[in-house]
Symmetry: C2
Subunit: 511 residues, 2 copies
């Protein structure tokens, strides 16, 4: 049996590449947390050097030679030559390295640099355009970026849609053909349910969530919940940043960030739980596999499933708050004394169509994603003019959510993604929600009395299950294979639809 030992020189190279990428991740983390304002320009240059070197070290003659020897380029799978077969980890490693290598290799270095420079530039213009509510200012940059992403799809290649080539870098194997009927089914389930909720006579009061909650106490409570989740602070940190995120330099150093608004309790709280879910995934990867795909997270959709499972399936459940609400009341003795557990639970689950995706409830969230998905396809597949974006955005907001933004800043300019050239990324948010529902259903089947454990604050039974079933495997299995392995089935909107039907049916006493 040929094992990972055979692949030692390749693994050494991959580890070296990962050191560069980990260093780049620290530079980015620092940029968002502690870097003085003046350091931005030099930081961008330093990052470009690290990323360029990491790219060069992958698409190098050495790697080409090793992969030429070990991988069949037609199938993209390990070459089975001689008497000795490869063991499973080696086969998985070669399949995934080939994937990374061949995608990177299809992009001319000149193009990679051009895209990186344009994205960096556009992000700065977007920040200003959003602040000034001036879409036209951003228009030329966005037009260039869309053209570049179409060019990228051309280099990468695709069968049915150029959008497939873009989505593939965030969610390997996912296609328009697969996702479109899935989203249609989801929409068909969500829209009528949303209508019933909005027509219900129940009015949920969440005004007490907007009393004044001291920032340092919010952070303290966030740390308490993270610790209960099993997030290991000897291998992690919680810091502040403008937009919450998770980053990892190694399973022994995984960092989450949050933000705090004193009159918005849910913001910091659910950011902590959400990023904690991401953090547990990264802390749960195998340290001995660091640098290789076997020690890397699987896809953005799977990553998001971990954050959404904790944030929503756990963090917005009544069971969770049975344990944590009394603690929250202790931390904020003056803000919540008259509020019952049930009132609190209802408030954090209140449904309200709103303009901003990141503040959306679970019922409307995926509708925000569908709007972006449709617009991105129009841009990439149909050559829709970028100048028509604000109109298309507002029209779709009216159709899906019944509201129209008064400004582009709270509309088409709200997300950073397009300014970074991240087209094809949004669908992974909805995939994360769907996977989360599927995984959580399975966890409830396999872990005896899971909700009792949660209600007793014993969250780590779930952490351990997720680690054993998902985290530790890295990219050993494809997404499809992993989902089948964990749930016995494949990606489906039904578990999520059942979950929201049940949850909002109760909260809004739907018939």
């Amino acid at each position: 049996m040929k094992t990972l030992k055979t692949l030692a020189p390749l693994i050494a190279r991959l580890t070296e590449i990962q050191h560069l990428k980990s260093a780049a991740s620290l530079l980015s983390w620092d940029q968002e947390t502690y870097m003085p304002a003046g350091g931005g320009e030099a930081r961008a240059d330093q990052l470009a050097t690290l990323e360029g070197l990491a790219h060069d070290k992958l698409v190098s003659p050495d790697v080409k030679g090793w992969l030429g020897q070990w991988v069949d380029p037609t199938s993209g799978l390990a070459r089975e030559t001689g008497a000795e077969p490869w063991d499973e980890p080696s086969r998985a490693l070669l399949r995934e390295v080939w994937r990374d290598y061949s995608r990177a290799n299809k992009l001319p270095s000149e193009f990679v640099t051009r895209l990186a420079r344009e994205a960096s530039l556009s992000q700065q213009v977007w920040v200003e355009a959003r602040a000034q509510n001036d879409f036209k200012k951003f228009l030329p940059n966005l037009r260039t970026l869309v053209a570049l992403k179409r060019e990228e799809a051309g280099y990468v290649g695709y069968q049915a849609s150029p959008y497939d080539a873009l989505m593939d870098s965030y969610e390997p194997g996912m296609t328009v053909a697969h996702i479109t009927p899935l989203f249609a089914a989801l929409k068909a389930g969500l829209l009528p349910l949303l209508r019933r909720v909005l027509d219900s006579p129940i009015r949920i009061d969440d005004s007490f969530l907007h009393r004044t909650y001291e920032a340092d106490r919010q952070m303290e409570f966030g740390k308490l919940v993270l610790t209960a989740m099993g997030y290991d602070f000897t291998r992690g940190r919680l810091d502040l940043s403008a937009h919450p995120f998770t980053t990892s330099f190694h399973p022994t150093d995984v960092r989450v960030t949050t933000r705090v608004f004193e009159t918005d309790l849910p913001s910091c709280l659910f950011s902590c739980i959400h990023e904690g879910g991401h953090g547990l995934y990264d802390q749960g990867l195998e340290p001995e596999r660091y640098g290789t795909p076997l020690g890397d997270s699987l896809s953005l959709g799977i990553h998001e499933s971990q954050s959404r499972l904790w944030e929503n399936s756990v963090g917005r459940s009544l069971s969770f708050w049975r344990c944590f609400y009394p603690m929250l009341q202790q931390v904020f003795p003056h803000q919540l004394p008259g509020v019952s557990l049930e009132q609190f639970h209802a408030a954090i689950n209140r449904v309200q169509p709103s303009l901003i995706r990141v503040e959306a409830d679970e019922l409307t969230y995926n509708l925000h994603i569908m709007i972006r998905y449709e617009i991105e396809r129009a841009l990439i597949e149909d050559g829709m003019d970028v100048a028509d974006l604000p109109g298309a955005w507002n029209e779709k907001m009216r159709t899906y959510l019944g509201i129209v933004p008064e400004t582009d800043s709270t509309g088409v300019l709200q997300d950073v993604h397009w300014s970074m050239g991240a087209i094809g990324y949004f669908p992974t948010y909805t995939l994360g929600n769907l996977y989360a529902a599927q995984f959580y259903d399975q966890a409830r089947l396999e872990i005896l009395n899971l909700e009792d454990h949660i209600a007793a604050g014993q969250l780590t039974v779930l952490t351990k299950w997720l680690n054993q079933k998902i985290h530790r495997w890295g990219r050993t299995f494809t997404v499809e294979h992993l989902v089948r392995r964990v749930t016995g089935g494949s990606l489906s909107p039904q578990p999520f639809l059942d979950y929201v039907e049940q949850k909002y049916g109760q909260l809004y006493r739907l018939g």
Copy 2:
């Protein structure tokens, strides 16, 4: 005239190398400030990769080719061929790059890795040995390191002493032949002065410096002083670490750290001013020369001159406290009301032979350095057995300072330097003190009413002078040339001796 434009490909490479080194510096800064405990091992690997790549990119065929074309290897200076001469910046750049290249090139890659690994290992053992007061535990590592440093001296080459080859990497051009008579003259001046101070009937009370000073207010005051010095917080930060240090990733991102003990007011205060002096140097380098020697600091001795000038010549002067003492009293209204300016000034200058270098007053500090210099020379030049170190240490402490440590932890094990293989580094601390005295004398000659400015809190007149005279030039001039350019003379112990004679003569009312 051939200019830096001719050198563009070399400069591009140097900039790339500097990006890697800057990234490594950020990784090190993070390790000392925010990294979770578990992240240490992975961090060491990431640092090794970055440093190895930076080394490989310097000793590469490209660089060899460029330097072969532009530098005469016998003189180490720019080759003057053809009609067009080089301009001064280009000549300086080539001289300094050749210096870095040829030193790096003399060390076999295998040796560099071996030394780095041994140093990393030894540092961990030293931490334990110091904590457990167990020199024997550290002995085998230190023996190996000393052997490696002798091996290094052999690779680098030297004329008179192998110690010259080691010192040269911290203080270019400095030799045993130069420094030994200098240290002898310094000692000949310091020991009798110290005796007179200790025999004086004056007893200075500094007990009020050890009342309880709230940590956050100490930090607040440190920031206030740094700001007054001209340290730019839009291009810098102040953080906490176990040992204060300064690091820089670019002139637009220079970071200083301090530590705070609530019952030791001088510790945080003078660390801030000291590191601020280093920070001003790094913020004062030319951003357009980043990556090249012209944008790099000149030597450890010159760097230390900047920190010591601010810490001692300015920060322990009566003029400085005329402005800042009332502010300090406002920040600590309960601790200092009965203490006069003169009492405070005397207390922060109290002379007291003590065991620990970093806590030494200005009069005894250099004696600590001489002890280390003599021991290092014995190890490197005379093959002194490492096992004899504790005995030699204690004997020299008795001779120089009249006190003997009761434990090796407070004696031979106190400094981190040897565990990192930094032999030849200590003399730069004393050189810094001497340069500081010379530079400050010159500043007083050139800046009208400097002490009045300082007494009015107008510290930036001095910052600007230092920037114009020293900081902005990077490595354009050699150390000797710079000192001559600034002061009209060369390195001498006399200005420092005059300074301490005057200062302590007044404080201790010496005849």
